[in-house]
Symmetry: C2
Subunit: 633 residues, 2 copies
């Protein structure tokens, strides 16, 4: 296998034991330098990581972007002192940086983030590393087709998260023999014993029944650990779970296997380090991946040929999404799609039919779906993950953590709002805009017609961060000719005249209700401007300020709860302006039941009639026009 | 057992078969009347429900609030036509109402909700009914101590949700032999075959390894079904999972066991009904629960004796939460607490120590934690479920569905914001206010000192809907004497004078930064009003409007992303006011790393210095005072 090490094979066991002690000592030193952190949770897994680093990991720390590199993910992210001790032993960081643990400005954060080039993804919210590792392993098998291995260090406490079970099912179903879960069963959680304590067989049986190769070992016996890793690497068609019995705080009698020491620096670090045999300075020459492994070049990007929809016809933006994504996927070979077993509703099925090799069925497991997307983008793929907008709430913890991971991915939520009709509130995305806007660095798009949807999908593939596309179940009129530009961060004035008295602002299905309302109002002599706010975040402040200056009155309308959506995005624009327009916000303020789409829109007070009524009242009740200099500021 | 039925025992098998056909026919009729819905998913489980209704369920449909009643939860909520057919057979609804399925104003909604008195909780987001059933069963065993059984009809597709695994682990761990999961393995999901298809043993093995009694049966053989229910009722110490092989669309050749018919009304309902033997009019006299079962009266409520904190000392609101909840629990015997294995951080442990019989350790399984809370409130208990605010994102789908369930429960998120310090962004609740505000009918509270926290906890126990309490990790100064009133929906002017030029609005940790900023500004001759916005939703519009009228300039500051939080709540108040103050919103706009709490607040631009700087700029840049009539509107 071409393994290079600084020591000879016969010294391995001793080296590993010593390295394990070094990792413990350095975990204690880092956490004592900061006065916080999780040394005892690091100490339990130190031997597991020592043997991995020195004997099994294939990683070039000088070239973290080498596609052949293995991946090491700390699903138990709170064991970050151990991870940083591993990086120190590998020579990736120096001792001085190790001791900046948890300090302002340090890359050595409390929980790992990709601020460090060797960290693929942020962890620290438990139960995420393994599902993300499934995504990386799926990429290795089906997309990269490279033999790298994915090693995930898991805690026993986090096995209580259902997302870990989703990962176990998916990994086995996909035959991910490139994935190894290393389960650090130190028995103790934050407050007490886990559900299964040291019942290693409980974990082994669960893994086996899910279809994994699984074994129980002594997590402090380096020979057993080495054997287990060798066994994992040789296992075909199945992922491997190594269930390791360990002691929390192993090696230091004052804390070993005792409750009450979770997440605390040791009281007497000097004594603990002495008990562990003092400082060591072992430097491991980690084996790089085999450089003869061929990397398949990705085909050059082609020009995207988007679908075109004829003005005057009707089409659902969800279908335009599917058709546009298939087209983008033809031109851009890094695009992959995932769906939560509703691809005939989201229309991800159109991508699946066009590019079956880049489509992933994630079944009804939204957490695993988003995690897999995060894992795939680690390897430079560009995932689009879709389900009903309502069901993305299931994965909100994964979405917020994707932002901490600096992940670039697209999420697509169909069936937004009450306008889905009869299915009722359980299926209605009514908080998705609020949820997605409150993700750091996110982009939130809500197209109003099919050509516009296609145009934004084509741009999504190049946007950084977490990008959310909200699509509509119902067919809506095609109002824009094919080929028009809809830049991210823009808005479109769909209707205007010099004597506009009020501006109606909608997106998606409500834009069409606003247009109908404007037509009605026009017949009564009220001239209404209509703005299509297809980019909710970032928002087009220029167009909104112009409208405010021209009409003095804004009316927002959204198929969403009143909090955190399109209306609030507009309010934000004018928060500290010196002159502010009056803004009336129409949104869903009742709990819907079942009804037709039109009835739902009427009942929620966001249909054309409700918009027209609110606009009439706004115009009638606002006597004085707003000064024209609003737009200038 | 005192079973009363309209037929004799020897006719049971025939009755059940006929009843199964009736349930199929009525499922088809309901969905055909609406032109939508899920008849085929109903038809697979019809025999399972027929035998349950006629032979095993103990339920008084005239007295749905009888504490002795069994509970029937459709975890596969899309099989609602079947549930309504069951209610029709039980005489609870009449045929005319059945045919209002999915119509505007009908109680017979697309997915079940508690608008119907026999529906405990809303379902339709898959993977929720079983974890909620665990909560009801926990209440039965540990709180009510009543022998009612909980029957949960599950779909095979939803077994892919990790929350189902959380439920399986918890149910076995708690020995919930009063819980029976009926798994309708019809093999087909929405788009195709499930991961395990008709591999019944795959489900049996998974259930067994989790600690359940499990068996595979033919889900269309009424004798086998009857035997399975009898077996479940006799099983002690373990929950039972009945894994039933069924056919989707069973009984109608045009759709039976065929892909492509999910969620669609049948093309030819008349022919299908004829094939099923036509309409039937079986009326089942469902056995009521044994009325001799004694219901333990709940002790009368006592006066709550809240903890008191001395002004001038410091205490964390999270600790005040724990101490106040323990006190409330002493006086109010319906209060229960659940925690996600962080009770020494949220301080739920103080409740646990005081009331161990009403405390539930949910381990690191936030979805199951919230679901269990929903289940317990079904039985009239008042749950407080706590974890880090960041980790409540894990359960957002359960939280939004709790609102659809019209559930009354309290969620408590500790460790909000960057001010937690060194742990870094994975542990920081920075989207929790946005998430919780965008829950229909929610209340969002964010107290600023320990006595205030105690005062709001005492009120939370009586609030309807989903109530969220945000607590702070750090100790903050106690500024209010014990015993003061802090009504929900109120705010508190902490500092004011007639010549205030600007109003600083904060809550939680930022209130104290705002007070420090006001002190600094005062030394420079700028008089600042300070408002404690401890009730973010509902919000005190009166106090805010007075402040706007008096000072013309508002500055909000929150330890939260800019979207959807405290600042947006304030913006909303002035949206359509005729005169609007300038509002500057300070919030966290950078991705934090690790640092001390003080460094984090400074880096995010929400500490006293940043507030003072922003206030100075706002005062300097706003020349004209706002007209005094703002407050009047």
């Amino acid at each position: 296998m071409g393994i290079m090490r600084t020591v000879t094979r016969e010294d391995d066991l001793d080296l590993w034991r010593e390295l394990g002690q070094q990792l413990r000592v350095d975990s204690i030193r880092a956490s004592s330098a900061s006065g916080s952190g999780h040394p005892t949770s690091s100490m339990s897994a130190a031997d597991l990581m020592a043997v991995l680093l020195a004997g099994h990991l294939r990683y070039d720390f000088n070239r973290p972007d080498d596609p052949r590199n293995d991946h090491l993910i700390f699903s138990k992210g709170h064991a970050s002192p151990l991870l940083y001790a591993v990086y120190t032993a590998a020579g990736a960081i120096d001792d001085a940086e190790l001791l900046t643990f948890r300090r302002l400005g340090s890359r050595i954060e409390g929980h790992p983030t990709p601020v460090l080039p060797w960290v693929d993804v942020a962890t620290g919210s438990l139960g995420q590393g393994l599902p993300i590792g499934v995504g990386v392993a799926l990429a290795g098998k089906q997309l990269d087709q490279l033999p790298y291995r994915v090693w995930v260090l898991c805690g026993d406490s986090e096995m209580a998260e259902g997302s870990m079970w989703e990962a176990m099912e998916h990994a086995a179903h996909a035959g991910l023999d490139n994935l190894t879960a290393i389960l650090d069963v130190n028995r103790l959680g934050q407050t007490g014993e886990t559900m299964h304590g040291w019942d290693l067989e409980a974990y082994v049986r669960r893994a086996q029944v899910a279809g994994w190769h699984a074994m129980a070992i002594d997590g402090h016996d380096v020979a057993e650990i080495d054997q287990a890793y060798t066994d994992a690497a040789r296992t075909e068609l199945r992922p491997t779970m190594i269930v390791a019995r360990t002691e929390k705080g192993h090696g230091v009698a004052a804390v070993a296997n005792q409750n009450g020491f979770h997440g605390k620096a040791l009281a007497d670090p000097e004594a603990a380090i002495a008990e562990l045999g003092g400082l060591r300075h072992i430097r491991v020459s980690v084996s790089p991946p085999d450089q003869t492994i061929e990397i398949r070049p990705r085909p050059e990007p082609d020009v995207v040929r988007l679908p075109a929809y004829e003005v005057g016809t009707s089409e659902a933006t969800r279908r335009a999404y599917g058709e546009a994504l298939a087209a983008v996927g033809t031109a851009r070979h890094e695009v992959v799609a995932l769906d939560g077993e509703v691809s005939n509703s989201t229309y991800a099925e159109i991508f699946r039919q066009a590019h079956p090799d880049r489509y992933f069925e994630m079944y009804i497991a939204e957490q695993q779906m988003v995690a897999a997307a995060v894992g795939m983008q680690v390897r430079g793929w560009r995932p689009f993950a879709s389900t009903f907008a309502a069901f993305l709430t299931r994965a909100y913890d994964f979405i917020r953590m994707a932002a901490v991971s600096r992940a670039n991915l697209s999420l697509v939520g169909s069936h937004a709002g009450v306008s889905i009709g009869e299915d009722g509130p359980s299926q209605m995305g009514l908080e998705d805009l609020a949820m997605m806007r409150a993700v750091h660095g996110s982009t939130v798009l809500y197209p109003s017609d099919a050509n516009q949807a296609a145009a934004v999908v084509a741009q999504m593939v190049d946007l950084p961060g977490v990008v959310f596309l909200r699509t509509t179940r119902e067919k809506t009129p095609v109002i824009y000719p094919p080929g028009e530009a809809f830049p991210i961060g823009g808005a479109r004035v769909v209707r205007s005249s010099p004597d506009d008295q009020v501006t109606l602002i909608g997106a998606g299905i409500t834009l069409h209700q606003a247009l109908a309302a404007a037509a009605d109002l026009s017949r009564e002599g009220i001239s209404a401007r209509v703005i299509d706010l297809y980019s909710v975040k970032p928002i087009d402040t220029g167009i909104l300020r112009q409208a405010a200056a021209a009409t003095g009155r804004l009316l927002t309308v959204e198929d969403h709860w009143p909090e955190g959506g399109l209306g609030d995005a507009v309010l934000e624009v004018f928060a500290d302006a010196r002159e502010r327009p009056r803004i009336v916000k129409l949104a869903v303020r009742i709990m819907p039941g079942s009804a037709t789409p039109a009835e739902q829109l009427a009942a929620a007070g966001i249909d054309a009639a409700a918009i027209a009524a609110a606009a009439r009242e706004l115009v009638a009740s606002t006597a004085a026009p707003v000064p024209a200099d609003v737009a200038a500021r």
